[in-house]
């Protein structure tokens, strides 16, 4: 029974982690670009011409159906907006970068941050950001965009029927558990890249779904108190699932364009290593879980606890900036010894609580340079103690995500102990 419990925990964790690390699919990525495009156009017109702004909002609301094509059409109809149109075109071109998005987070960061800071590749977007960066509307728009796109990726996405004809496969794969699109020979290098990436995305998502199903199945079994035969059933279930999605043996991939293929190979290599990394993290988590002391044979609340932790998106950060903020780009989904000091827990989109992680290494690290590591974001309720063994967070701090930084809005109250 204990083994089963561990298995269930492992599977839940595995599934959850895979889902977190899953690559965003192409349709969603393009929708994200369209959404960014729409929001930026609204912002641009708002500060330029109220009448045109109103007409645009009416003709082209920033919803799930908006496309860059429609945006540009609408702008064209409004007339005398050549600069705005070229900005919209530059944003629309971001869709071509889909193949480089290694994860959802990377994609979100790319469309909401990176491109606005990249003067070399995206001159128009960069100029726009520079022009508006001080305005409150712009700041708010950027914060909202991150939230919007995150929820778009997180599942508030259109149902399969909403997907565009001809682009259905990648979007529908997870829902239908159908075979992946054949990796056919294509003369279009971009198509090849997309196919490979989509395949990887599919694999990741599929494993996540399968493992989730297994976890659910096993949980049910435990709840029904029928421990016998679980492993066999699980085994059969996995086997059946793998068979159902395995590509035919004779399916081969024969690229014809060497340079394109070289590029794709590089990407595949990179993604392979990324997958290794995920696998490594998972094995680490499973190992930790197995080492987790268990006093009772069945301990469902433990499952709940871990599941809750994952759902609330815990992540870790190191030294804060002297202004009391943390760099979001430094956030790590897992604890990193020697680097992590603070544990953040997301309470809503763009808001999180934080505290000094209880681990010994976090405390040691924090105490090394307290003026840098503690003071900017914590208030101590007792005297600083360089030899403290523990730093207990009495009241967690609060932070808000603004422009790529978790800005401290309330310091954590801590206590040095031991």
């Amino acid at each position: 029974m204990e083994m089963i419990r561990k298995l269930v925990l492992s599977l839940w964790l595995t599934a959850a982690c895979l889902a977190l690390n899953a690559q965003v699919d192409k349709v969603l990525f393009e929708k994200a670009v369209d959404r960014v495009n729409c929001r930026i156009m609204v912002l641009s017109l708002q500060s330029y011409n109220e009448a045109k702004h109103n007409k645009f909002v009416e003709a082209c609301p920033c919803d799930d159906k908006v496309t860059s094509k429609k945006i540009i059409q609408t702008l064209t109809q409004l007339g005398d907006l050549s600069k705005t149109i070229s900005l919209a075109e530059e944003i629309a071109k971001l869709k071509e970068r889909y193949g480089e998005m290694s994860s959802m987070d990377a994609a979100i960061r790319f469309v909401t941050e990176d491109v606005f800071n990249n003067s070399r590749q995206y001159q128009k977007i960069y100029d726009f950001a520079q022009k508006h960066k001080e305005s409150e509307a712009y700041k708010a728009c950027m914060v909202n965009l991150q939230t919007e796109i995150r929820s778009l990726f997180a599942g508030d996405s259109p149902s399969p029927t909403e997907a565009q004809p001809g682009k259905a496969t990648e979007r529908q794969i997870p829902e239908h558990h159908v075979q992946p699109p054949p990796l056919s020979v294509s003369n279009d290098s971009n198509a090849t890249v997309s196919s490979v990436a989509a395949g990887i995305s599919f694999t990741t998502i599929f494993i996540a779904v399968v493992l989730s199903a297994i976890a659910a199945f096993a949980t049910t079994k435990i709840l029904l108190r029928k421990p016998a035969g679980i492993s066999k059933e699980v085994h059969e279930y996995i086997e059946a699932r793998i068979k159902s999605i395995a590509p035919p043996d004779n399916q081969t991939f024969k690229p014809r364009h060497a340079p394109d293929i070289k590029h794709v190979q590089e990407q595949v290599n990179a993604v392979e290593l990324k997958l290794q990394s995920v696998a490594q993290q998972l094995s680490g988590l499973v190992a930790k879980l197995e080492a987790f002391p268990v006093s009772t044979p069945v301990s469902l609340p433990v499952v709940e606890e871990y599941a809750t932790d994952v759902r609330t998106e815990a992540f870790y950060l190191s030294t804060p900036n002297s202004d009391g903020s943390f760099n979001e780009s430094s956030a790590s989904p897992s604890y990193r010894e020697g680097a992590s000091i603070y544990r953040f827990t997301k309470v809503s989109n763009g808001r999180a609580t934080f505290q000094i992680d209880e681990r010994e290494s976090s405390v040691k690290l924090a105490l090394q340079y307290p003026n840098k590591n503690i003071d900017p974001v914590c208030e101590a309720e007792n005297a600083y103690n360089a030899k403290a063994k523990y730093i207990n967070t009495i009241v967690p701090g609060e932070a808000e995500l603004v422009g790529g930084k978790w800005v401290n809005i309330k310091k954590a109250i801590i206590r040095y102990d031991g």
């Binding site: 193949g99 480089e100 290694s102 990377a106 590749q121 590089e266 990407q267 290599n269 990179a270 993604v271 290593l273 990324k274 290794q276 990394s277 995920v278 696998a279 490594q280 993290q281 680490g284 950060l317 190191s318 030294t319 804060p320 900036n321 002297s322 943390f326 760099n327 780009s329 430094s330 956030a331 790590s332 897992s334 990193r336 010894e337 020697g338 680097a339 992590s340 000091i341 290494s361 040691k364 690290l365 090394q368 340079y369 307290p370 003026n371 840098k372 590591n373 503690i374 003071d375 208030e379 101590a380 005297a383 600083y384 360089a386």
Partner: protein
């Protein structure tokens, strides 16, 4: 006989005769044979293998040559339906030529080829003498040789040479066609020699498409040997036909061949082809064959377009630089480059000379990707400081730009190019570019100039990110590199390269190893430094570990390299970890000496040290390091590096620079400045008996009193008892200062040799101690500056007067006596000037530490010191309340040493700490000024000094002074007594008048102080006069008078200090105390200085207690400190202040308890 029926003719005959029915025929001639149509139409490639003759293959090849020679282009050819030469002919001829060409190039494959000799006479004899079967074979063979001697030149056949390649026979010499290949599968022998096509390939290659040198050789061979022309007629026909074709397809070669001189000996251009044994030459029909001269191959390759265009001179063959997939018409060895040639990304043979060129199998050095690019790319947790170090032209196409990389260049690259080449944007120079792409991968491209004008070869390798907590294995053969992220910092001091052999460089390079967790926590770093003009690394004078890495405590380690040579790049290797290596190239800015004359003055004080400098005749200013003349260069970008070091938390890389090395900036707008506390830092584990270096084993910790210290901090350097290592510490302290000064000069176009240095010493310092300091300054100054002018040591009591005089602060001039009082931490120096010249000098150890120190306690006594007891809780609370946790930690660490002066110095430093905004709140001076209980001590202290000076002046017959000027950190005490200088002057005047017993004239007495920079006055004054003018022998004017009640002593030795003398001194002190009491009556302390009544009452109770004890304690303490053993030795200072020090110490503990500090 034959059928003469046309139909039968069609069926059975190939006579091409049109006879009917039976008609006469004879044997088929060649013509008839040619006319037989090939049922496969000439395309059959399966060669016959079972012709019943021992020499069938010879015949087959001979026929093939004959057929091919009849074709227009020496290839398979059909004339209508008639096959003139089939594919098999083409193949047989081509294979025979392959054997010939292979032997011509035998030196390229010598290791794989073996020649087996079949000697006719020897072998036939053997057969004859062998078994029956062998005999029969011999007889049969002899029969054939005899029977076919006309057709196959067997009459001239002496030897056949069988050629074995890779242990398999591939061919043999032939008496009719020179060579023939075996019918076996020869695909194992497919090698490229010096041409584009491969030996024994699928397609036959006619001679005219082969290597020109090989063709020339054959024509030379035949041209020089008529026998070959006569006997190898078919082969000769082939050659003639080939020449005709060359006339059209390669006229240049044609002309060359036509112009060949038959008389020129072959030996001049070729080497004899032997069986592997010198003298055993391979021949055909007795004619020796030849091979390509090895030197000619090499010569030919040295003209290749791929030859590296190195910028460094190098002996030996210049290697080729080969790039996979190059699609340009480069000349390779003899022919054009074939873009299908597979160049290995890594050649297992490390010795370039032993490498074989890919594709053509010639032993010649060449370079490929792995020779220049490392398997690992070291990623840093910060962006590289690209203003000081080369960042490899990093382009971030994807991901964040918060991380940088070392250059993944192997040392071998620098055997051909200089570091400077990489920084140059000029053509014909190598260039590196790193592009950060998807999923953290980095594509590194190294452009290398080659012989072909304007062209480059590009080595490219993509490095992939390793899974977290893992290090993937690179695959150099597949050209897959791996990124290894390491946490370390490198800082170079000074960031100056002079390149002037006359100026010796001195470097310290700090390495902070912050790999404290994960895979690399047990690893360390090794740095080698290279100059562009030398192959071997520059000598490392010392490598010192300052902080030992402690992974348990998550504490980083630090190492320091001491170098006395300039370098152009640094090779970094991670040892026992990833094994990854990389290169750092400093972008040195040209620095040259100029003519600007710098003058520095260094006041090495008990508590604080100050440095001033001036250029030319400019005004003195405190020493600074500004953004324009920063002396260190950090590998991390100081502005672009995030505070969390891209989430790694490796901020120790930044912090350890401040703690152990040199700050980026010093001065008014920087966190650190002079005057700075006179302390030195070293590792707790330093073995002082080993060879030590400043800025490797020691440093001046500018973070002292500002941040919690990590090291062992030692203070009281100036007066510390002569204990083990103290001289080394003082020397290290001076050396760091000298290094800072030197860099200041170099970075501001100053002249090292013209630089002037003034240093100060207290006049009470013993000559031996002064001499020791002087030697140290002189030696260091000479070493680092090679100066024209020697450093000048002057007593620190003289310059303040010149400062006040130079800044026109002495109203009415200085003709009348001016008393300059320099109150330091340990000593007070007094000089009486008259008519601008020093007249009288006195020095005594009664200074700030007499109040703020431990009295006569050799070891720290802070825990029982009254002032500390009173103010320690106050400041602890203040720091806590204001969240200055780090400063509180600083205080805790200082407190641990229990030295009263250190704790008080910390309190005084707080108001100047940049972290503290409310300076008034933390001003110890202001707090003490408001302390009505303790103020009596400061007034007593001041009065005693003025009283003693007045006594000495009177004793020496000097008239009363017109001005008193104050300097030194200790003179801040004046502001505690009162900020009203006129009041102080009034008090002083009163004391003088009382001592002299006469009244002042109308000029009166004025007091001048530099309240905000009393310490700086000495240094400034030292630069406001010609220092040599002040280098006087102070002993001549020294007045070291100890007053007794009944007598005074101008010269006291220890053996004179009997009970009577001591009692007389004690009585004098009691008289002074009485004077102080009287002073209050005439000059109300309460009214003028706010002294509390209670404190005055306690003073009156305590002030005359234990006077003799304090006097004895003082004597004992100072004898010990001076290591005074001889009783005949002179007592170097007045004994008047010994009892007073004890009184003050005693009083402070009583007075501190009176009124608690109001928090």
């Amino acid at each position: 006989m034959g059928l003469n029926n046309s139909n039968m003719n069609k069926v059975f005959g190939y006579s091409k005769k049109s006879g009917k029915d039976w008609f006469a025929t004879d044997a088929y001639s060649d013509k008839e044979i040619e006319s037989i149509a090939d049922p496969e139409g000439g395309s059959e490639m399966s060669l016959p293998t079972a012709i019943p003759s021992p020499f069938a293959r010879i015949d087959l090849v001979k026929t093939a040559f004959r057929n091919i020679a009849d074709t227009p282009n020496l290839k398979a050819y059909n004339k209508g339906e008639t096959v003139v030469a089939g594919k098999e002919d083409e193949k047989l001829v081509s294979d025979a030529l392959d054997v010939a060409e292979l032997l011509f190039n035998i030196d390229s494959i010598r290791d794989k080829v073996k020649i087996i000799v079949w000697d006719r006479s020897v072998e036939m004899e053997k057969l004859r003498k062998g078994s029956v079967m062998h005999r029969r074979l011999g007889e049969t063979l002899a029969l054939y040789l005899q029977q076919d001697k006309q057709s196959y030149n067997f009459d001239l056949l002496q030897r056949l040479y069988l050629i074995e390649y890779n242990h398999k026979i591939i061919g043999c010499t032939s008496p009719v066609t020179m060579f023939f290949a075996t019918a076996s599968d020869l695909s194992h022998a497919r090698i490229k020699l010096t041409r584009n096509n491969m030996t024994f390939g699928e397609q036959g290659v006619p001679l005219y498409e082969r290597d020109a040198a090989f063709q020339e050789y054959l024509y030379r061979l035949f041209g020089s040997n008529d026998l070959l022309k006569k006997r190898l007629t078919i082969f000769n026909e082939y050659l003639e036909k080939n020449l005709k074709i060359l006339d059209e397809v390669n006229h240049e070669l044609y002309r060359r061949i036509k112009g060949l001189q038959a008389t020129r000996p072959l030996k001049e251009d070729y080497d004899e082809l032997n069986t592997g044994t010198i003298g055993s030459n391979i021949e055909v029909l007795g004619v020796t064959l030849y091979k390509r001269k090895k030197a000619s191959i090499i010569n030919s390759i040295t003209g290749s377009d791929f030859v590296i265009r190195a910028t460094k001179p190098r002996s030996g063959l210049a290697p080729l630089v080969l790039q996979n997939g190059l699609n340009k018409p480069f000349r390779y060895a003899n022919d054009l480059w074939d873009n299908n040639t597979a160049v290995p990304y890594e050649d297992a043979e490390p010795n370039l000379e032993k490498r074989w060129l890919p594709g053509i199998h010639i032993q010649y050095p060449y370079l490929t990707v792995s020779d220049f690019l490392e398997p690992y790319l070291i990623r840093l947790v910060y962006p590289v400081n690209n203003e000081k170090f080369f960042d490899g032209n990093l382009v971030v196409e994807s991901g964040n730009s918060d991380k940088g990389y070392l250059l993944p260049l192997k040392k071998m690259f620098f055997e051909y190019f200089t570091a400077q080449d990489l920084l140059s944007a000029l053509p014909d120079k190598p260039r590196i570019e790193m592009v950060q792409g998807a999923a953290g991968s980095v594509r590194v491209t190294l452009r290398l100039p080659v012989a072909r004008t304007g062209e480059y070869i590009y080595f490219q390798r993509t490095y992939y990110q390793s899974p977290e907590n893992q290090l993937a294995k690179p695959d150099p053969r597949q050209n897959k590199g791996v990124i290894a992220e390491h946490q370390f910092g490198v800082t170079v001091f000074p960031f100056i390269k002079i390149s002037d052999p006359e100026i010796k460089p001195y470097y310290r390079v700090q390495v902070v190893d912050r790999d404290i967790t994960g895979l690399f926590k047990t690893s360390s770093y090794e740095l080698d430094f290279y100059a562009d003009n030398a192959k071997d690394p520059v000598a490392i004078r010392a490598k010192k570990t300052r902080s030992k890495k402690n992974t348990q405590a998550l504490e980083p380690g630090s190492q320091y390299y001491v170098l006395d040579d300039e370098f152009d790049f640094i090779h970094v290797k991670n040892v026992a970890g990833s094994g990854a290596s990389g290169v750092i190239i400093p972008m040195w800015q040209p620095v040259q000496q100029g003519n600007e004359v710098f003058s520095f003055s260094v006041d090495f004080g008990t508590t604080n040290t100050h440095i001033e400098y001036k250029t030319g005749n400019g005004s003195p200013r405190p020493f600074d390091i500004t953004p324009e003349d920063m002396q260190i260069a950090t590998l991390f970008h100081p502005d672009k590096t995030s505070e969390d070091f891209s989430g790694s938390g490796a901020n120790a890389i930044r912090e350890l620079i401040t703690h152990e090395f040199v700050p980026l900036q010093i001065g008014n707008n920087a966190p650190f400045r002079f005057p700075h506390r006179t302390v030195i830092a070293e590792s707790f584990t330093l073995n002082i008996e080993t060879e030590t270096f400043s800025l490797a084993d020691f440093n001046i910790p500018f973070m002292y009193e500002r941040f919690a210290e990590r090291d062992k901090i030692l203070s009281n350097l100036k007066w510390a008892k002569k204990e083990k290592g103290n001289e080394k510490r003082v020397r290290a302290y001076f050396e760091k200062i000298i290094m800072l000064l030197r860099n200041k000069v170099l970075l501001n176009r100053g002249s090292l040799s013209q630089t002037r240095l003034v240093w100060f010493y207290p006049s009470s310092m013993k000559p031996a101690r002064k001499s020791s300091l002087e030697n140290t300054w002189t030696e260091l100054f000479n070493r680092y500056f090679s100066p024209v002018n020697k450093p000048v040591g002057i007593t620190e009591s003289l310059p303040p007067f010149y400062y006040y005089k130079g800044s026109a602060r002495l109203q009415g001039g200085a003709y009348k006596p001016v008393v300059s009082i320099d109150i330091g931490g340990g000593t007070t120096d007094v000089v009486v000037f008259k008519a601008n010249k020093p007249l009288l000098l006195s020095s005594f150890k009664f200074a700030a530490n007499s109040i703020f120190g431990d009295g006569f306690t050799e070891f720290g006594a802070a825990s029982s010191n009254g002032i500390i007891q009173k103010y320690l809780p106050y400041f602890q609370n203040l720091l806590e309340t204001n969240n200055f946790h780090d400063l509180k930690e600083v205080l805790r660490l200082i407190r641990e040493k229990n030295r009263t002066e250190d704790i008080n110095a910390f309190f005084f430093s707080l108001e100047n700490n940049l972290a503290i905004k409310d300076r008034t709140l933390f001003s110890y001076n202001s707090i003490l000024a408001r302390d009505e209980d303790l103020k009596i001590i400061f007034l007593y202290f001041y009065t005693a000094i003025i009283y003693h000076i007045a006594g000495v002046m009177k004793h020496k017959g000097v008239e009363m002074p017109k001005h008193i000027v104050f300097s030194g950190t200790g003179s801040k005490i004046l502001a505690i007594i009162t900020t009203d200088e006129k009041l102080l002057a009034k008090l002083s005047r009163f004391i003088f008048e009382e001592v002299y017993g006469m009244a002042y004239d109308s000029d009166g007495l004025t007091i001048e102080t530099e309240r905000h920079m009393p310490k700086e006055v000495t240094c400034k004054g030292g630069l406001m006069v010609q220092p040599e003018d002040l280098a006087i022998d102070v002993q001549e004017i020294r007045a070291n008078i100890t007053f007794g009640k009944s007598t005074s002593f101008e010269r006291l030795t220890y053996d004179m200090l009997d009970d009577g003398v001591l009692a007389d001194i004690e009585a004098y002190v009691a008289a002074f105390n009485e004077f102080f009491l009287q002073l209050n009556e005439q000059f109300s302390f309460s009214d003028h200085f706010g002294i509390s009544g209670t404190s005055w009452s306690i003073f009156k109770t305590e002030f005359n207690k234990h006077l003799r004890d304090y006097l004895e304690e003082g004597l004992e303490f100072n004898r010990k400190m001076d290591e005074q053993s001889s009783d005949e030795k002179i007592v170097e200072e007045t004994l008047f202040f010994y009892p007073l020090t004890g009184i003050i110490n005693n009083l402070s503990s009583h007075l501190s308890k009176l009124t608690p500090v109001n928090f």
